[in-house]
Amino acid sequence: MKNFLITLIIILIPVKSFGLIEVDITRGNLNPLPIAVSPLSIDEESRKNFENILKKKNIGSEISSIVENNLKVSGLFNPLNKDAFLQEPAIANLKPRFEDWNLIKAQALITGKVSNVEEKLRVEFRLWDVLAGKEMMALAFTTVPNNWRRVGHIITDKVYERLTGEKGYFDTRIIYVAEEGPKTQRVKKLAIMDQDGANNKFLTLGNELVLTPRFNPTSQMVTYLSYFRNLPRVYLLDIETGTQEVVGDFPGMTFAPRFSPDGKKIIMSFAKDGNSEIYTMDLENRIVEKITNHPSIDTSPSYSPDGKFISFNSDRSGYQQIYVMKSDGSNVKRISFGKGIYGTPVWSPRGDLIAFTKLHKGKFYIGVMRTDGSGERLLTENFYQEAPSWSPNGRVLIFYRETKTDSKGKGFSAKLWSIDLTGYNERQVPTPTDGSDPSWSSLLSN
């Protein structure tokens, strides 16, 4: 996927950030920054050319709409209505008339231009600080026309990074389980889509039950659980070539797989004789190591981003609680001590927090705590929700939620949702069918 971007020529004009606008993403943003996304201008010849190739009337406006939607969904920005824009896109990209943009209360402005250069899509864009009347950033890149949606995501990532000081998460994908059919006989397929729900593709046919797909943080590999031939086993799937293989040769159920941060190992549970333990398998030399050794259920393992620690859940205290240990299995410490039961710990890519699912008094919560268990914060409460997965910048969590059925057992649905670490900006993530078990990829372009 990375090769798709033929060239990413960055003409970054360094501008001193002082005095310019900034967006604080550490608190719930109740006043999203008003931003004007001027449609990318396009010359008539390029427009016609791309209309032929991509069947989109004006690819410049299409790309701008992607940027606009991303900014809006982030909750940090308020893209202004285009009807109020006074300046022509092509002219604004050369030199914005800041008084005009100020008049409609825009604080930031994105302008740009698309052109056809030897059958490739060339895009340049600029970010402007309206109040200061200054250019904050200018970038240009060239890619194959089919990558036009990714162009919108990359522009958003650059704008987000410039304004918040942190990496974006827009040029990313979500792998999840697409679900259909009655609750007692759900048909489940692996599916993958862009972070905004576009380009949805099913990766399996639904002939066998599949669960818990997770991305390799360093490549386009996925690990998941499949009931192929009624043998629940952890599999490895290359989403580019479609090749699949069973992970390890275990005489029983393997489940709850995840990659190590360097992508070289899979950590998972193996259940035998009523006891589930955590194992790792090195993908190069196939060496299997047993990490836990306790007669309780030990599962849902997740590495810290430096690979030195593993969090997992265990019912060794009587109920499911969260534990942290060194990656060799030593120094096991329970970290969850609040009321209720705790599961599905996942280490933030920033390393400072663990996201989890909590069940207390019949309600399910998605929350975060520090890695020593202190500072527990519950972000959202619902009838049923679980399995948080972090955006690559550690600012957003995606998870799934199931509805309560009515007295006749009808009305079941499962949907993907996201929420900011601040506890604000809770949103349903659009999927063509029901969905569960989402996993967020790393940034596709870096």
């Binding site: 009655p182 609750k183 007692t184 006989q185 759900r186 039950l209 669960l211 818990t212 659980l225 009624n230 629940p232 029983g252 159920m253 489940f255 709850a256 549970s269 259940a271 004789d273 009523g274 006891n275 589930s276 259920i297 599962t299 849902s300 859940n313 019912d315 109920y319 499911q320 599961g343 599905t344 699912t357 069940l359 009838f383 049923y384 679980e386 399995a387 199931e402 309560k404 059925t405 007295s407 057992g409 009808k410 079941f412 569960s436 078990d437």
Partner: protein, 159 residues
């Protein structure tokens, strides 16, 4: 087969009566649960006449109740009589737990049943175990009675 159908239909009528009388007095669905273990029979199928195919568990538990042990002894007797039959024990959990933990819990429940069958002389060669976690509920309801029916280990003929 026929018997199970008759039993089922018969039971439906009983349930309907119970539901009516329950509505008249209180909203509690009693009579089919002891603690939170399901004691009814409306989802139960029969491996042979008088040999129920499943046992039920309390929330988060894999301990066999007295009734479960009685059911498994009947299954063991039937398996001893039909020595060619092999079985799969399918372990299940209700929807009120995380997916991965429930997979482990289903496996633990099915193994509790397996261990008990083995103490009654059934060879482990004849038994395989398969956990479905919360993936295959029999009752799609979101209430304690539905959940109690779904916390189960079901013995299925494999050949």
């Amino acid at each position: 087969m026929k018997l199970s159908k008759i039993l089922k239909n018969g039971f439906l009528i009983v349930v309907a009566c119970l539901a009516l009388s329950a509505c008249a007095t209180s909203k509690k669905s009693t009579g089919q649960m002891q603690g939170d273990v399901y004691t009814g029979t409306d989802t139960v199928e029969y491996l042979a006449s008088g040999v129920p195919d499943r046992v039920f568990f309390a929330t988060n538990e894999s301990v066999l109740t007295t009734a479960s042990r009685e059911t498994l002894r009947k299954q063991a007797a039937w398996l001893r009589k039909n020595s060619k039959i092999t079985i799969v024990l399918e372990g299940h959990a209700d929807e009120r737990g995380t997916r991965e933990y429930n997979l482990a819990l289903g496996e633990r429940r099915a193994n509790a049943a397996k261990d008990y069958l083995m103490t009654y002389g059934i060879s482990s060669d004849r038994i395989s175990v398969l956990s479905y976690g919360k993936e295959r509920p029999v009752d799609s309801g979101s209430n304690p009675l539905a959940w109690s029916k779904n916390r189960r280990s079901v013995t299925v003929k494999a050949n």
